[in-house]
Assembly symmetry: C2
Homo-oligomer: 356 residues x 2
């Protein structure tokens, strides 16, 4: 019974066929779950497979079927909660559907490395590519490459230049409006915005939402303060906002920056939310556990990741259902937002000078 299952070299379909006393084609039918195989025969084959620890060669299979069952995943930027979570759930969904995911993440996202990454993916004959990147330019670079395979972009702008580009995203605009409306409802009238990085599509949509909500309420709009998603940039703007005694609330384009803003504000003696309300975006796990807990807009990245995969799958199966689903964010009220101080005018006078 005991086999010489030494390092002999892996069994192939013919070895299995021989052991099971059938043709290689019958083995193929069994591994591919095709009909017209007698249960008894199937059994013998299955046993032979197990005994020989046979694993079909993906290379041979890909060679003849011309399908690799590999998906390319490109992501850019410093690892963030949003991108990572989306990616993990995309990968999980793919795995469950028995697709392999060839990942190509990169911090910089410049045209050169992006092109190299795509090239490598294409060289692997991936069946489709999904891009999780918020950088408008990155998406454009990719769209200008002759891919030859479908592209799914997890991105908030409908900039579908090419016919075979599909999209899945949150409604960032609505999310931002939600946030700003919440501040307006609380009674705030001067609401500032710290935006995300230049060239970021999400940043653009969020700023647009802020602007629209203010316009709707006929409230004053001043130029947004340009951040870069880093807590450091939030902090810098927090410092300068501390000196702005007319505003009573800040809508920040991300939680990470919002925490920086709060720290900047607090370090100058401005209290949150008593003096200034701060609103974030994303709802990162930490948001609820800082002082004060951050009001924010929740994005369900897990669902987004799975959505991206479903879309990819339907594109691959030519069901051009492909409706660009846009998930709605949810408002999360916590302690960093509150009605403005009841005595705004007096307040304004006493704290007019630059604080330091």
């Amino acid at each position: 019974m005991t086999q010489h299952d030494k390092q002999a070299k892996a069994a192939n379909i013919f070895d299995v066929a021989r052991l099971a006393g059938v043709s290689h084609q019958t083995v193929s039918r069994v591994i591919n779950d095709l009909p017209n195989v007698r249960p008894a025969t199937r059994d013998r084959v299955v046993k032979a497979i197990a005994q020989l620890r046979y694993v079909p060669s993906p290379a041979a299979r890909a060679l003849v079927t011309k399908r690799s069952r590999v998906l390319g995943l490109v992501s850019t930027g410093v690892p963030s909660f949003s991108v990572s979570t989306t990616a993990v759930h995309f990968t999980t969904a793919a795995r469950e559907a028995r697709y392999a995911v060839s990942a190509s993440s990169m911090v910089s996202g410049d045209a050169t490395s992006l092109r190299a990454a795509i090239e490598l993916l294409l060289g692997q004959k991936v069946e489709a590519i999904v891009v999780i990147s918020d950088e408008r330019e990155a998406l454009e670079v990719i769209q200008n490459i002759e891919l030859g395979v479908p592209l799914v972009a997890v991105a908030s702008e409908l900039a579908a230049v090419r016919e075979d580009t599909h999209q899945v995203a949150f409604d960032q605009f609505q999310g931002a409006s939600l946030a700003v409306e919440h501040l307006i409802e609380l009674g705030h009238r001067e609401i500032r915005h710290v935006s995300g990085a230049v060239g970021s599509m999400n940043a653009g949509e969020r700023e647009r939402g802020w602007r629209a909500a203010l316009a709707d309420a006929k409230l004053p709009i001043v130029p947004a303060l340009a951040g870069d998603w880093s807590p450091a940039s939030g902090y810098e703007h927090g410092l300068s906002l501390a000196g702005d005694s007319t505003m009573t609330a800040v809508f920040v384009a991300s939680d990470e920056m919002a925490l920086g803003v709060m720290h900047g504000l607090q370090s100058q003696g401005r209290r949150v939310p008593e003096d200034v309300s701060v609103m974030g975006f994303d709802d990162i796990p930490l948001a609820a556990y800082v002082t004060p807990p951050l009001s924010t807009v929740r994005l369900d990245f897990a669902t987004l990741g799975r959505d991206a995969f479903s879309l990819l799958l339907s594109v691959l199966q030519d069901e051009d259902a492909a409706d660009p689903t846009r998930r709605m964010p949810a408002l999360i009220r916590r302690a960093s937002t509150a009605p403005p101080a009841g005595i705004p005018v007096t307040q304004r006078h006493t704290s007019t000078g630059r604080l330091r």
Copy 2:
């Protein structure tokens, strides 16, 4: 000149050979950069390749060479800064060496899905597998699978059960000692610890470091408070620690939890660092931008990721150099740690009762 480069179906090595007026073997020599090809010939081939947009089939190549140039990457747990950063840099290094990375991330990391993930990777004939997981059990599950390929674990415990398992890690023990010694130097005598998740190797090492540093200084040791890496668990422990008037400092096993601890403490009226010093671990980007900025231990995950790849590469090339490098963490002093209040005894009396 203009070709009918319609959807004709991709060119193969023979098409290129025909166009260049050489044999397929010469084309093969060119794409593999082998010698004994006249420059003029090489040129013609290169031109033909460009003209036909020829890309060699990885499947055909893998079929004959028996090498896939694909690496498997498994990671477990909720996406975190540490894991994501390590993974991104591993991927980048691999891409630069023209290796593809098949990613299989999963939130749960239970034996079943872990086995399924490994199975899928093995089915793709990956040349090696790297695991970025802190869960002892996950690593054990994987080590008990007959992989047939080398395994590199990014993990802090030297639990090399199998011969072909290699490791790369930080010296978590030293890092934790560093942190605790910093607190001791500041004058703290009662230093508590909020540990990471049960079953986490890093958590174990960090707790061990805390214990050792206290023992070295002959300071009292009480059982650690068991967290689970989540900010929520940090918060809970922060709440209970607020009632512990004997301790003046807490060493928390991660920054995320440390922020939760600070929030718990602060919500009970305990000031950081005036009443309690809090020390984190990891140095996440946010750590410097909360109030107060968090003292912590910095881990260079980017280097770790690259190290993992170098190790993998040397293992693949049979250079069993394979020394288990352990990178040293660095102490980062910020504002969440300070000398204990000068009047600890009085303090102790006034705040003895449970705060709430």
